[in-house]
């Protein structure tokens, strides 16, 4: 068979699509193969119930890099991000905190609990923005390899050293603290009111198998602060039409650049001859050949399933097996007859337009984590709720609403084993709804449909190993030059001409697009495709 493609990309998740678009932009002939019937991977919009469109998995956007939006002209291809400005935190004692309406009201709101914290909050945001700027150049380029003495690599290290040197001791120290401290400890250095600390700390645990008191969670906090829309820091948004519209915009951009995308084309394995990737074999037996193969699947799936242990050195296999991918979160998608009315702030209002965080205390969050540590879902979980239909009415029938509830913790490894999830799925959904009912009485009676996604479902339906939404935990030993394996953090793999382009590589998960873009640029600079 003659060679047809310059590159075949396995998986039409957002990173695979970004990678494909950049390669095509450089004139390469690219084919993207997707197992499911739609593109997007974990960034999809699905009409789970007639008339109700859900961002079934990933539900907000913050980290998508502005450069990618510009380079791929995503706005032209239909990307429209609606701002998600307010953050509403209801507490079990009947009080609430509503931030983000405007600076003056945020200040008033925080003063309800602590005048001092209200003064400190703007300074904190500035400090976080500064820290993000320090990290940004490191996030935006491939991870330098501390174990390599190549001149280009030493130069990279020197460049990063210079960034740190110019920043000065104080900023670097602050950064080191962020890398090593717990979110709760770090925030307690700034703030005194638990009503503020708890919901802020909660953003440090999203997608991790850690608690707010676990060292290392302060860093994740920063990761979430790095979100930017059109260059403005700390702005979250809801893509109009759901997160699937991001994937659709990237796919449209890719197609316009000549990329061929095939859905319902599951790949069985990567075709390897003499240690070199030659193409892929589909489930239906078809062989497709290409000069390079790029995997958009997670590291476990890529190496243990698509490549196979026999093609790899035992040491590398051990490293991949030790790459931790414990899923810890679930998702509850609800179709509602009416908006919820919170006991602490009844009726509709700005507080329902933004994100609603149920994180009423440090101990509450920590107990939620304790349940998960010993193999159970949180009886009283942490939740991040959005009601996209409030700002984007097209996603629900007139007068009705969709509610997306991100829930933590839901450990993949239940003490009875992951396969016990189907029998616990609804109990998990009940635990979620019970907490919301407590905060918003009458909520349960407004539910028209309920769709519960456990980590087990995320694995089975969306191909996320162990249900890990970031393709591998974002712990320090799994970042930068160690993501996903030492020596293989620059999108290359031990199999020649096989590349990785998804969240299992530097700089990691979230709808960022950076792994896909960096993979494409590495491939192009090395003439690989």
């Amino acid at each position: 068979m003659t060679r047809k493609y310059d590159a075949i990309i396995v998986g039409a998740g957002h990173n695979g699509l970004v990678c494909a678009a950049y390669l095509a932009k450089a004139g390469k002939k690219v084919l993207v193969l997707e197992r499911r019937h739609l593109v997007g991977g974990a960034a999809v919009s699905e009409q789970i119930f007639p008339g109700f469109t859900f961002s079934s998995c990933s539900y907000v956007v913050s980290l998508l890099r502005p450069k990618i939006i510009r380079d791929l002209e995503l706005t032209k291809h239909g990307l429209h991000i609606l701002p998600l400005e307010t953050t509403f935190n209801p507490y079990l004692d009947g009080t609430y905190l509503l931030r983000g309406v405007d600076a003056a009201s945020t200040r008033r709101e925080i003063s309800k609990f602590s005048k001092r914290d209200a003064e400190v909050a703007p300074l904190f945001s500035q400090a976080m923005a500064e820290l993000s700027r320090l990290i940004k150049p490191i996030i935006d380029s491939p991870a330098p390899d501390l174990g390599s003495l190549k001149p280009s690599n030493l130069f990279e290290l020197l460049r990063m050293g210079r960034i740190l040197k110019d920043a000065g001791d104080d900023w670097v120290a602050a950064n080191l603290k962020m890398m090593t401290m717990s979110a709760a400890d770090f925030l307690s250095e700034w703030f005194e009111s638990e009503k503020l600390i708890a919901p802020m700390a909660a953003s440090g645990i999203i997608g991790t198998f850690l608690g707010v008191r676990s060292p290392g969670t302060a860093y994740v906090l920063l990761h979430h602060y790095m979100g930017e829309i059109d260059g403005s820091f700390r702005a979250w948004g809801l893509p109009k039409g759901g997160t699937g519209s991001i994937s659709n915009a990237i796919a449209a951009s890719a197609r316009a650049l000549g990329v061929e995308i095939r859905t319902e084309a599951p790949v069985k394995h990567v075709l390897i001859k003499n240690g070199e990737a030659k193409g892929v074999v589909l489930e239906n037996g078809d062989e497709l050949h290409a000069a390079a193969v790029v995997s958009g699947a997670d590291p476990h799936r890529t190496f243990l399933n698509l490549v196979g242990e026999k093609e790899l050195e035992p040491d590398f296999v051990t490293q991949i097996k030790r790459f931790r991918m414990r899923g810890s979160s679930g998702k509850v998608n609800l179709a509602l007859d009416r908006l919820p009315s919170f006991k602490c702030l009844p009726g509709a209002g700005l507080h329902l337009q933004g994100d609603i965080t149920v994180a009423p205390g440090i101990d509450y969050l920590e107990r939620a984590y304790d349940d998960a540590k010993y193999g159970d879902f949180s009886k009283k979980p942490f939740m991040n709720i959005v009601l996209p239909s409030v700002t984007d009415p097209d996603v629900a029938p007139p007068g009705k609403h969709v509610m997306s509830v991100f829930v933590q913790y839901a450990p993949y490894h239940l003490k009875e084993g992951p396969d016990a999830w189907p029998s616990k799925r609804e109990a998990f959904g009940d635990a979620v709804c019970d907490v919301i009912e407590e905060l918003a009485p009458g909520f349960k009676s407004s539910i028209l449909h309920r769709h519960v996604l456990t980590p087990w479902d995320l694995e089975k339906t969306y191909g996320l190993t162990e249900g890990n939404i970031f393709h591998g935990e974002l712990s320090v030993e799994q970042l930068a030059f160690l993501r996903p394996a030492a020596g293989w953090a620059r999108y290359r793999t031990p199999v020649k001409k096989l590349w990785m382009c998804a969240a299992g590589t530097h700089p990691g998960g979230g709808i960022m697009g950076t792994p896909g873009a960096l993979c494409a640029s590495m491939m192009l600079s090395e003439g690989a495709a």
Binding site: G147, D169, T180, A486
Partner: protein, 507 residues
């Protein structure tokens, strides 16, 4: 008014090490100790008539042989034991395990090979780590050519590991000990025994990131122990200091530091006596410095950093006077770690997050009488036990009932491995974190003076601006466990602090 060249506040092991270092360089030194005896947490403690614990801190495997020489301790009766003392991890079913520094001397059943491999990678970096722990902390960002040179040297010594081990080592650094041990071991008791080494007075459980580094750093400086334990070490330190001409004054609690024009000039004792000296070393907890200084003596940013140093006491100490030593199915051992599994340790940690006592605490036990019969009456025994965890700010406060609850939990744990323990107990004392604070000045009961978390190590210990021992007040320097390389019985903070002070403030 008496006059000295240097005063050291606190006659713990680090204070004494600092004093000797200065005295040997010709300074006239007086060490001021608030308690009635020198030695601090290393001093012998007769907790029941005839029964003595050789120090509240009970391990000495972290003292470094070159330092013992530099401080002249061998001439003053100090001797090292032939080898490290292995740790016995008992189980309720069989003879349990032996965890020695040397994998060859360990008895770990099916985990023997896993431990050997783990130690191989850890020890490959031993040179680089122990270098970092024997010297003043490296600068965070290399600024001068000489710093670059030091960095390059460190880099090269790490490079010597070879790429594979280097990666293995770098990956270990930020990990939690639970993940690390699960990568290498199969048996939960073995995992718990190794993880148990990282818990003392930290606010972490085995699932907390950074605990692997704690083990690595501990292993890098581990060596032979001092014969006679910490008490023998401080006896030798005191003798060495006195033979060099220095002295220790007990019952002398410092009430204030005297500062004139940005320079320390002495101290005022409780009772009003003033002592003058151009150098003052602080071997007590770094934060305890703040109330001793006059207002505005430190720049605001230094003050701010110092007031944020985390030191939460999380461990209690129990001393048992026993009719006979604790004896498990594996026999009598000098060191034992008790905790059945990683989850068992983690549950013990969970309790303190909610200010509760651990129902089933993890224990780090030493039976000093196995090696030293002089510590108890004939045929009797002493057990020295660190209990993890018991929080300083326990819900409801510390009381006799709480201390009794700690003792009960400890005996219940030991009972799993030695059914007769309760009949052996002659007397017991419980030192809760509040008591450790009141008696030994350990801040919040934390015997390391500042938690040894990753953000409070190296050039961040105790804070960024105070990591090089000298404070912004000329003549005033840190020389206690709150400084690099930190807590445990190490001596290096005292020695390095004094050397930094000798370099002067001009630069």
């Amino acid at each position: 008014m008496s006059s000295f060249d240097a005063l050291i506040i606190g006659a713990g092991h680090n204070g004494l090490a600092a004093a000797i270092t200065l005295q040997k360089r010709g300074r006239r030194v007086l060490v001021l100790e608030a308690r009635s005896v020198a030695g601090g947490l290393c001093a012998a403690r007769e907790f029941h008539p005839g029964f003595t614990a050789p120090g509240v801190l009970h391990d000495t495997f972290e003292v470094r042989a070159p330092l013992l020489d530099a401080l002249g301790l061998a001439q003053h009766g100090l001797s090292l034991r032939d080898a490290d003392v292995p740790v016995h991890a008992p189980t309720s079913k069989d003879k349990g395990f032996i965890l020695a520094h040397d994998p060859e001397r360990s008895q770990l059943g099916e985990d023997q090979a896993g431990y050997a491999e783990l130690c191989r990678v850890a020890d490959a970096a031993r040179g680089a780590l122990s270098t970092a722990l024997d010297a003043a902390p490296p600068p965070m960002i290399p600024g001068q050519v000489s710093d670059f040179f030091d960095f390059a040297k460190l880099g090269l010594s790490l490079r010597a590991l070879g790429a594979k081990d280097l990666y293995g080592f770098l990956r270990m650094l930020p990990m939690c000990i639970a993940d690390l041990t699960r990568d290498h071991f199969k048996n939960e008791t073995v995992m718990a025994a190794l993880a148990g080494a990282t818990l003392l007075d930290e606010y972490v459980g085995p699932w907390s990131a950074g605990t692997a580094a704690r083990w690595l750093l501990q292993r890098a400086v581990s060596g032979k122990e001092v014969a006679g334990g910490p008490a023998a070490l401080v006896r030798a330190l005191k003798a060495s200091l006195e033979s060099a001409g220095g002295s220790v004054r007990t019952g002398a609690r410092v009430a204030a530091l005297l500062v004139e024009k940005g320079q320390v000039v002495g101290v005022k004792l409780e009772g009003g006596e003033a002592l003058r000296a151009g150098l003052v070393g602080v071997a007590i907890a770094p934060r305890a410095l703040l109330p001793l200084l006059p207002p505005h003596a430190l720049p605001l940013n230094v003050f701010d950093e110092l007031s944020r140093v985390r030191a939460r006491g999380t461990s209690a100490k129990v001393h048992l006077a026993l009719e006979a030593p604790i004896e498990t199915r594996g026999g009598r051992h000098e060191r034992l770690r008790m905790g059945d599994s990683l989850d068992d340790l983690e549950r013990a940690f969970d309790a303190i997050k909610y200010r509760q006592l651990s129902r089933a605490p993890a224990l780090d036990v030493r039976q000093p009488t196995v090696a030293d019969l002089s510590l108890a009456p004939r045929d009797k025994a002493v057990a020295s036990i660190w209990v993890n965890f018991a929080p300083y700010d326990v819900d409801g406060g510390w009381s006799d009932d709480r201390r009794k609850a700690v003792l009960d939990a400890v005996l219940a744990r030991i009972e799993r491995y030695d059914a007769g323990i309760r009949q052996k107990v002659i007397a017991a004392e419980v030192l809760d974190p509040k008591t450790l604070e009141a008696e030994y000045g350990a801040p919040n009961g934390n015997v390391h003076h500042a938690e040894m978390s990753l953000d409070q190590l190296l050039f961040m210990r105790p804070t960024l601006r105070l990591a090089h021992y000298r404070t912004p007040v000329e003549g005033l320097f840190l020389c206690g466990s709150g400084s690099h390389p930190g807590g445990g019985v190490r001596l290096a903070p005292g020695w390095l602090g004094a050397r930094a002070a000798l370099e002067g403030w001009a630069s």
